[in-house]
Each structure stands twice: as C-alpha cells, then as structure tokens.
C-alpha cells in the first residue's frame, strides 16, 4: 500500500512548513487527489492516523478533495470530462485529448495554530 509512503511524504512537507512558519499544531490537512491518479482516498484515510501519530500532524483532521478527470480535446477545442487517463473525447470521439486535470496528488492547504 503505497498510500502509507504518500502520507509519510505529506508529514515531511508539513515538517518543512513548520520550519518556515511558526505553528505548534496542525488542525486540518487538505489534500487534492486526482480521480485518475495513483492514490486511493480510502487508503489514504485508512493509514493517516497511524502515520501522523507522534508527528507534528498528530490529531489533524484529513480532508480529501477529489479532482475529477478532465482534458483538452484537440478536436472540439474545449475542456472535456475524462473518465480514464487516455480516453477519447466524450463529445466528438477524437482520441487526441491531453489530460489537464485528474492526476493531482497535492498537499493543498492546512489549518494550524
């Protein structure tokens, strides 16, 4: 389950931020997770408490914002929703669609005090 490593990486980023900004507690961590990406939100939630325990993020609430897949279609020249990474355009059927959203795996923001 690589989500364990991903949450460890989140904690490392929070530690980075702790060195730059003055805070003593993290209340909430918001992640942006693309629907077509490599991480499973439920698995992230499952290991979050275990991984953050004893770290600066201990006790923080995890919020996950799922980013739906979208791409730019070179056929109809617009952004279209994508259900798969390399799917054809659902509007015009053109296979040339460049993924523009849905691959995110980001620490978006956090609430601290």
């Amino acid at each position: 389950m690589h989500e364990m490593s991903l949450v460890e990486s989140v904690v490392a980023l929070v530690e980075d931020e702790r060195r730059k900004q003055d805070f003593s507690r993290v209340l909430m961590i918001r992640l942006k997770v693309g629907a077509l990406g490599h991480a499973e939100p439920d698995a992230l939630r499952f290991c979050f408490d275990a991984v953050t325990s004893g770290t600066i993020a201990d006790g923080a609430r995890l919020e996950i914002e799922t980013v739906p897949g979208a791409g730019w279609c070179f056929g109809c020249r617009q952004t279209v929703p994508l259900a798969e990474r390399f799917a054809a355009c659902p509007t015009c059927g053109n296979p040339q669609v460049r993924l523009t959203a849905g691959d995110e795996l980001r620490l978006a923001e956090m609430e601290v005090e």
Partner: protein
C-alpha cells in the same frame, strides 16, 4: 525510507522527535487561557521575551478580540515532490555518467530476474551492466545476477511495496558503476505501487507474462500507463495457453496509446534481439538527445 541502512526511517523519526520537543519546550511560546472581562474566550500564544508580553507576536500576527490564532496556510505542493527531487538528482547523476537506466516493474513471478540473467549473458560483452534488485526480503535475486556476471546491489524494502528515489540513490552509492553502463533497476514485484514513484530512470518497462491473463492492463492501468515499453514474457508457453496476444495489445493500447510492445521469451531468447535493439536506440537518444548526423 532507506532499506540499506535504515536512515530514512531514522531521519523521519528524528524530525518528528525534534519537532515534538520544539513544540513541547516551545521557547517563549505559551499556550494558556484565562478569563477576560470582555468575555471573549480564546487561546493565547504570547511571546514572553525579555519580560515583554506582545499580543502582536501571536501566531495570527495580531490580537483582535474574536480573532482566533487558527489560520489556514496554502501549501499547494505535490506530495511526491521530495521523491521527484531525489529522482531528478539520480537522473542527473546517471546522465552525467552516460548510464542508461531502466526501471523494470511487474507482478511477482513474471520473469524479471530471468529476463535480466539472459540479458546480462547476451549483452555483457557490449556494455558494462549493473543491477539494483528490489525485494521485500532475501538477496536471492542479487545472487542470481552476480552469478550471471553483473554487479548487483540488493535493496530489501522490509514491509515496503515499492522502491523510491531515496533508496535508489543509496544503492547508486554502493555500486561502482562504469561510465556508459546499462543499469537495470528491478522493482519490487507489484503491479500497483511502483507506478507512482519516479526513480530517475530513463524509461519504465513493464513485464507481463502470458500466464497472467491478457486483461491485466485494464485491471491495473496505472502501471501500464506509466510505462514506455511492455515486454510480454514467457512467449514460449503460448502454444499451451489460451492467451490472446492481440487482445492483450488492444488492452494495453487502450490504457496507454503511446506504449511500445515486444513479445519475448527469457527462456528461449525469442524476441530479445528486438529488446536489445530498443535499448541501444533509446540509450543513444539519451546520450545524444539532439542527434548527430552519421
């Protein structure tokens, strides 16, 4: 974390420990509440330095009744940014030495190690070859690679399900790589997790064996979407199976229209000449991306 010396875990634990200690002793930062005549109720993070109590030095940078010291920090950093930075460092290090690295990924038992043993036997007169072996336990694979004549370092990930760029960076420290070498990184047998982690390789290669079923690319699309080349291994078994090669090609192209595809047999050597030609061509492109006239 580093499975060679365990340093990653220690660093993380140390960081967490020192952060916890910093938070606990806290220098001049205090956290306490007390009653206020104007009936606002909140935490105070006062700075007590030189006997000065400065309400403007709280975490919110100011003191206004009703203003909580809670605040939201926008971060917007990729979760894998640390791994990706280490992978970039590996890639630069390998590129500077003209080392062409492939990250081999598959489920356990697809024949990655057998493929490497065969490749080493066939190519070691043309290239210096080294291998980084990733497994949860044992050095069996590295032993097989060394017996085949290549230098190898074994990474045991313990409970880990994939290699990361930090582990590979350490493995590079342990390998005496000749400039111009071929480096194969055999990832942990796992058709899911390794896909997300850039190691600094030139290309990801996914190995699928014909005993696994032609619909694997549809079931595990992340892995096949991440790869530049797919090797369909154990082709010598095709006459004994009902594996539909065309259906497999269609499946993999559906999840990754850009992937290249070769059918090989590590046992008989069938199809491997095409794999070696692919390596030579891609290594030439890596070493001379612009291309020189012949």
């Amino acid at each position: 974390m580093c499975a060679i010396c365990g340093c990653g875990a220690a660093v993380i634990a140390d960081d967490a420990g020192s952060a916890a200690r910093t938070a606990a002793v806290g220098g001049s930062v205090q956290d306490h509440g007390h009653p206020h005549p104007d009936a606002h109720d909140h935490h105070h993070h006062h700075a007590h330095a030189d006997g000065v109590i400065d309400f403007g030095k709280g975490l919110a940078g100011g003191h206004v009744p009703g203003l909580s010291q809670e605040r939201t920090i926008s971060i917007e950093r990729d979760i894998l940014s640390k791994n990706d930075a280490l992978a970039d460092a590996n890639r630069t290090r390998l590129g500077d030495a003209g080392i062409f690295a492939l990250n081999l990924m598959s489920s356990p038992g697809s024949g990655k190690t057998s493929l490497l043993v065969r490749t080493i036997a066939d190519l070691q007169d043309r290239w210096p070859i080294a291998v980084i072996e990733g497994d949860q336990q044992t050095s069996r694979d590295a032993d097989r690679i060394r017996a085949a004549g290549a230098s190898a370092v074994q990474i045991n990930t313990g409970k880990g399900c994939h290699l990361d760029a930090h582990m590979v960076g350490h493995a590079l420290d342990h390998l005496a790589l000749e400039p111009g070498s071929l480096l194969f990184i055999e990832n942990v047998g796992n058709l899911v997790c390794p896909a997300a982690f850039d190691l600094g390789e030139a290309h990801k290669v996914v190995v699928l064996s014909v005993t696994e079923g032609e619909d694997k690319p549809l079931k595990y699309p992340d892995m096949f979407a991440a790869a530049d080349l797919m090797l369909l291994n154990k082709a010598d078994l095709l006459p004994h199976l009902e594996f539909d090669v065309d259906a497999c090609v269609a499946a993999v192209l559906r999840v990754n229209p850009r992937i290249q595809f070769l059918t090989v047999s590590a046992r008989t050597g069938a199809g491997l000449a095409a794999f070696y030609a692919w390596i030579a061509a891609r290594a030439a492109v890596m070493r001379d991306p612009v291309g020189r006239p012949a």
